[in-house]
Amino acid sequence: MSHLPILQVIIPLLAAPLCIVFNNRRIAWFVALCATWASFGVSLLIAQQVLQSGALSYDIGGWPAPWGIDYYVDSLNAFVLLIVTGISALALPYANRSVEQEIDPRSQPYFYSLLLVCLAGLLGISITGDAFNMYVFLELSSLSSYALIGMGPRRRALTAAYQYLVMGTIGATFILIGIGLLYSLTGSLNIQDISYQLHANNIIGSGNRTLLTAFAFITVGLSLKLALFPLHLWLPNAYTYAPSVITIFLASTATKVAIYMLLRFCYCVVGSESIFQLTLGQIVLLPSLAAIIVSSVVAIFQYDIKRMLAYSSIAQIGYITLGLSMSNHSGLSAAILHMFNHALMKGLLFMTMGAVSYSVGSVYLTDFRGLGRRMPFTMGAFIVGGLSLMGIPMTAGFVSKWMLVQAAIELGWWDVVILILIGSLLAVIYIWRVVETAYFNPLLELEEEEIGEAPLSLLIPMWLMVIANIYFGINSAIPVEFAQQAATLLLGGM
């Protein structure tokens, strides 16, 4: 099938309007479910083809690359596509009951439509080989995610969405300015072609100030989008107040796609040997370390567990960018692998949060008292997710953290190794607070009302995630293979 790359994006893109045709929430959910599963299937096929026969490319409109827009899939974006579609394929079955409870029934068709637009946007960013097309789909995914966050059940969701909107728009504008400057330097919008033109015209080595500015804007804009440490302020509120499904979806995919964009721009446009590479590593190193330590400490003091996990997300993004800043093969593959593993564990943890909020109504620390007995499956899943987050062997989180530590040792960065370990210990503390409350704090006698286990449609996707977390912790051959191929590809230029 030669049309696979375009199908990846247009299935959710065109299913989105279909959701609101009938104005019926069940039909809308069903359409969304079919679309996400179909695009998951497509991404599996793409991944298989990429592993077998190398990169795929597809000229949209039949126009060859620098003149038209092309889709270009190599092992890096095939991997990102798998993450995004995989998470959404699990989130959609979960969405049915959770959304039913959290969102006004008349808004639900619109909710699913926006969710599909967001998915299509993220996939479009990941798959395209054209810088401006990337921006268009970035706009799609951001616009829909602002609205989705604003649909959250609490009133403060609107404020959180507005905060995210302001920060996100600044980020997107910066990215657009950067792309515009690159266009004026090269006359091209195709990423491979920009890279070729920059090298062919000797712009890269000459210390061109416009190029430097373009990269400054792109890096800062993407750092806003991926919530790199000092620019993360929008994230905790957005994740806390969004509907449960949206938190699951965005936490596991949106920041990963932004990291992918950063990788693509920094490595594929400029190339690994040039001077910007080194400065990028140095620039990102300190914020990453700060993110790991500071956000983990802040997470310890949160009482809203969703917010605690949001801070933990910022710390985990720190691990990913730390791997990125090492700019060697093992560091990069650790970073790419951690993108995958973080999607798995944060998806799982936020799924448990959704289940708790479904049964109990809120996710404050005090609400967890006695939940170990009342919601055994949910809390069991929470423990697995927590172990994965800490990086205990036999879970997915361990593999990538181990690779990260190895990469740091390879470079002789012993202080970084110690900081990574401290970060893990801090994760132990904040996860333990929840576990302690759930299992060792007795239920108050006053609370007689029955709080039962979450329904099966929430538990099944959750436990599939648990299985994934454990399976990829024991047998990590496939993701490691992908990550290493992608790292080789990034370091070898195009």
Partner: protein, 350 residues
């Protein structure tokens, strides 16, 4: 001479921006935003980017002012003082500006024929688009064919904006349409003195019952058909001159909105129902995406119009016609949906 025009326009632009930042009356800020758009549209004209200028004039000056005003009817018309001093924001803005200026230092000169933007992809667009794509307006060729997929993306962006608005605002309390009669003037004198302060005056303005405005109604009846006709002209003339689906949709929508303002929102809703608009918006995206899918089924790539007809140029022509139609329908429907959503909400229940 042209540089004089540029300098004058740019200095007006700067003054407008500073005024927008300073002013606390949101009504004035919106008017200034309209002026800002008009000035930038004029700047685009001096740069010979007439298509962009047209879009900016139609969207920035026209429809977005109306939409902002109708959103303003839901809130206060005066900006609150921010709780903290915005020095950090100022710092960020200054640093960004400085970096931007630094970045322009190694840019090729504006209009330099040897600069990369004129020597790489643009060459093929200019030389080959008449016999590869067809339309005399190269901008249309690039937007609708070479980079038609981006335009599909932008169409979905507009669609998303509309459904996001309906999803967030559409289903709360509806406004009951009570016809406000004009009060005799002496009774309202004291009110008028305050009205500039609390801005209540504005909310009444936008929901003017047209019954007493004989002149407005007659002129409206004269001009609304002409506006709609002009929108159709812009839609179908986009191949030859500036214009196309986006501008046409916006102009068509502003004709309908004008009708709703002069007569009544409720009457307009009976003519063009929200449900019909929803289906139109969906249809717009489907027409665009559908053309792409049909191209795939006929053996080409997605959005490869060449296969639509026996002769590639005819195929291109047909494809561009259809997708522009899809864009126009979608933009029209979404703009009117946005206006309805704002107009339907009771004040203060956000």
């Amino acid at each position: 001479m042209e540089s004089v025009v540029d300098i004058v326009l740019l200095s007006f632009l700067c003054i407008t921006v500073v005024a927008i930042v300073y002013i606390r009356k949101l009504f004035c800020a919106i008017m200034l935003l309209g002026i800002f758009s008009l000035l930038s549209a004029s700047l685009f004209v001096t740069m010979d980017a007439v298509d962009v200028a047209f879009t900016e004039a139609a969207v920035g000056t026209g429809i977005s002012s109306i939409l902002l005003l109708s959103a303003l009817a839901l809130t206060h018309t005066r900006e609150q003082r921010p709780p903290h001093q915005p020095y950090i924001a100022l710092l960020v803005v200054v640093v960004t500006g400085a970096v931007l200026i630094y970045g322009t230092m190694d840019l090729p000169r504006f209009g330099d024929p040897n600069s990369p933007i004129h020597r790489h992809v643009a060459v093929r667009y200019i030389a080959d688009s008449p016999h590869e794509v067809g339309p005399p307006n190269i901008v249309t060729s690039v937007l609708a064919s070479y980079r038609g997929y981006d335009t599909l993306g932008e169409t979905v962006v507009i669609f998303t904006a509309g459904i996001a608005l309906v999803g967030l605002l559409g289903f709360r309390r509806r406004q009951e349409f009570k016809v406000r009669l004009y009060q005799p003037m002496d009774k309202k004198t004291s009110y008028a003195e305050n009205s500039t302060e609390d801005g209540d005056e504005f909310e009444d303005n936008i929901k003017l019952p047209g019954a007493n405005h004989m002149v407005l109604r007659i002129v409206g009846k004269m001009f609304i058909p002409l506006i709609l006709l002009f929108a159709l002209y812009v839609q179908f003339h986009g191949d030859y001159g500036p214009g196309g689906g986006f501008q046409a949709g916006v102009i068509f929508a502003s004709g309908i909105i004008l009708y709703a303002l002069i007569f009544d929102v409720e009457t307009a809703m009976r003519v063009i129902t929200p449900k019909g608009l929803r289906l139109l918006a969906v249809a717009g995206v489907f027409i665009y995406g559908g053309v792409g899918l049909v191209c795939m089924f006929l053996g080409g790539n997605f959005l490869d119009y060449n296969v639509l007809s026996a002769h590639p140029l005819h195929g291109q022509h047909l494809g561009i016609f259809l997708i522009e139609l899809g864009v126009g329908i979608n933009v029209f429907a979404i703009m009117v949906i946005m206006f309805y959503t704002f107009a339907n909400r009771k004040r203060g229940s956000v």
